[in-house]
Each structure stands twice: as structure tokens, then as C-alpha cells.
Amino acid sequence: MALQDKYAELIAAAKSHGVANLSVAEQDGVLHVAGTAGSTATYDALWALYDKLDPGMASGDLMMNVDIKADAGAQLQVTTDSSNLNIRATPSTDGDVVGKAAHGETVTLVEKTDDSWWKVRTADGEEGYAYAQYLSPL
């Protein structure tokens, strides 16, 4: 229970922000928090809280497996640092690059292949898999 106390503020915030399918469980000294945030803002707020409650996220006692709600057809913004985001033929960095989306560009979600790779379509009609880390639902 000690970890739930440590991250009580985070769990309360997840509840108050209406994170869907929220589940909280402790296992082997790690608190697992999972759910689907309604917006990128909620996701960012939860991660900021994690950093506040565990400075530098150094303790390794929280697995925050929270994703952001995005249905097929949702608009996603490319959030690379500055470079183009590769769009690939298969959901892996080994896949051939079939297109590129510029930093800040908006693409359309085709399907969430898994938590790491999403199938997207660019405004030019290029379709393929992009790394989900660099896509933020609008």
C-alpha cells in the first residue's frame, strides 16, 4: 500500500481527469497504473505529476501504462523534436520507409496496431506505420 500512498495524488488526478478503465495494482515493488486518458493534456499532466512525486522518475517503482484515447479517423499531430517522422511499410524500424510526415504536421489515425506502432495516413494519402511516441491525438 505504501506505493499507492506515494502516488496517491497521481491516482486521484487520474480519477478526476476521468481516465477510462483505470486500474491500479502493486506487484513486486512496482505500482502498475493503466488506463486511457481522454486527451493529450491529461496524459501530459499525469506524467508531470509522476515526475513531481518521484523526481527524475528515478525510483523505478511506477509503471504508468496510460495511453491516450484515439479512435480510427482521429487527427494526430507529429511531435518529433524537429525531424520528419518516418512512415513505414511494416510496424518496425526495419520496415521500408514509404512516406514521411513533417514535424507539426497532422495525420489521420487508421488503426492502433499496438501501443508502439500506429497505422496512419498523411494528408498526401501516404499510408503506413509510424512510431506512436511521436504522435499526439489532437
Partner: protein, 165 residues
């Protein structure tokens, strides 16, 4: 021989007493409560008896428990019928998927893919606990790394040596 006779007579008297006398609701309720208390699954069930009709209420953990509780009560002497007002508790949410993750090849590949753009970091390998990653990183970079690992459902192993810029 004498003892047998007395026992038989006593048994007969008891039988007569039970058939001739209608059980009182309060007694039936007490019997049901005793029966319910004996069953750990039904211990929290409430009961009320009126004219031999037992009404049970409470929260059961599942349908089988609810049906079992009704069966238990209907088997108690003096119960004519059972009104089952028990509700079934909603199932608990499934445990977070990250709790059952194994570091299989696909998962390891996700971490490798995610690290390709984090050029100041090097993947040393995987332990039973997660990914061992060394390098230097900014505060924002650390958050990106943790987000990337979380999306792959992989922990950062404590053996990692990451210094903050």
C-alpha cells in the same frame, strides 16, 4: 431394550411436535442465519422471513454464489419459498497489462526502435526486471524515455546508469 423403547418414544414425540406445530418465522430466520453463517461465501447475506417466505439480500461475488445461497436457504426447514434479492458484485477490473508482460523479442524490438532516436543512450541489454540503458539525458529526455518504455510495458532496470544533463 428399555433404553431403545424410551428413545423411540422420544423420537415419536419429537416427530409429532414438529408436524403439528407450524414453525415460527423468527425460528426459521434464526435457523437460516445459522446456516448462512456456516458458509463463508454467504456469511454477509441478510435474511428476512414472513409466513415461511424467506427474502435474502446482500452482495454475492458471482452468479454461482447467488444461486448457492438460495439453495442453502431453501433447504432450511420451514422455508416455503425464497425471494432472492441478492445482487452480484461487478467483476473487478482486469489487472494492468504491464503486470503480465514478458520481455519477448517483439517487446525488446519496441525498446530498440524507441531508442533509435535517443542517440545519447545505449541499450546494454535486458534483465529479468527490464531494460538496462546507460547514457546521459535531459530532464525532458528522461520523460520521453520513460514514456517510451511504458508504452512497451518495460521497466527501466535499476542497473541502468543514466545521468541527467
Amino acid at each position: 431394550m428399555k433404553i431403545t423403547k424410551i428413545t423411540m418414544a422420544a423420537a415419536l414425540m419429537l416427530a409429532v411436535a414438529f408436524t403439528s406445530c407450524k414453525p415460527k418465522d423468527a425460528d426459521v430466520k434464526a435457523s437460516i442465519e445459522t446456516a448462512l453463517k456456516a458458509d463463508p461465501m454467504a456469511a454477509t447475506t441478510m435474511v428476512d422471513v414472513k409466513d415461511g417466505v424467506a427474502t435474502i439480500s446482500g452482495v454475492c461475488k458471482d452468479e454461482a454464489c447467488k444461486a448457492g445461497c438460495e439453495k442453502l436457504v431453501s433447504g432450511v426447514k420451514g422455508v416455503k419459498s425464497v425471494v432472492n434479492n441478492c445482487t452480484v458484485a461487478p467483476p473487478p477490473p482486469p489487472p494492468p497489462a504491464s503486470m503480465t508482460t514478458t520481455l519477448d523479442a517483439a517487446t525488446q524490438q519496441k525498446v530498440k526502435d524507441g531508442l533509435k532516436d535517443m542517440t545519447t543512450l545505449t541499450l546494454q541489454g535486458f534483465s529479468g526486471k527490464g531494460a538496462i540503458i546507460n547514457g546521459e539525458i535531459s530532464k525532458e529526455g528522461k520523460m520521453k524515455l520513460m514514456q517510451m518504455l511504458a508504452s512497451a510495458k518495460v521497466m527501466l532496470d535499476a542497473a541502468s546508469k543514466i545521468t541527467m544533463k
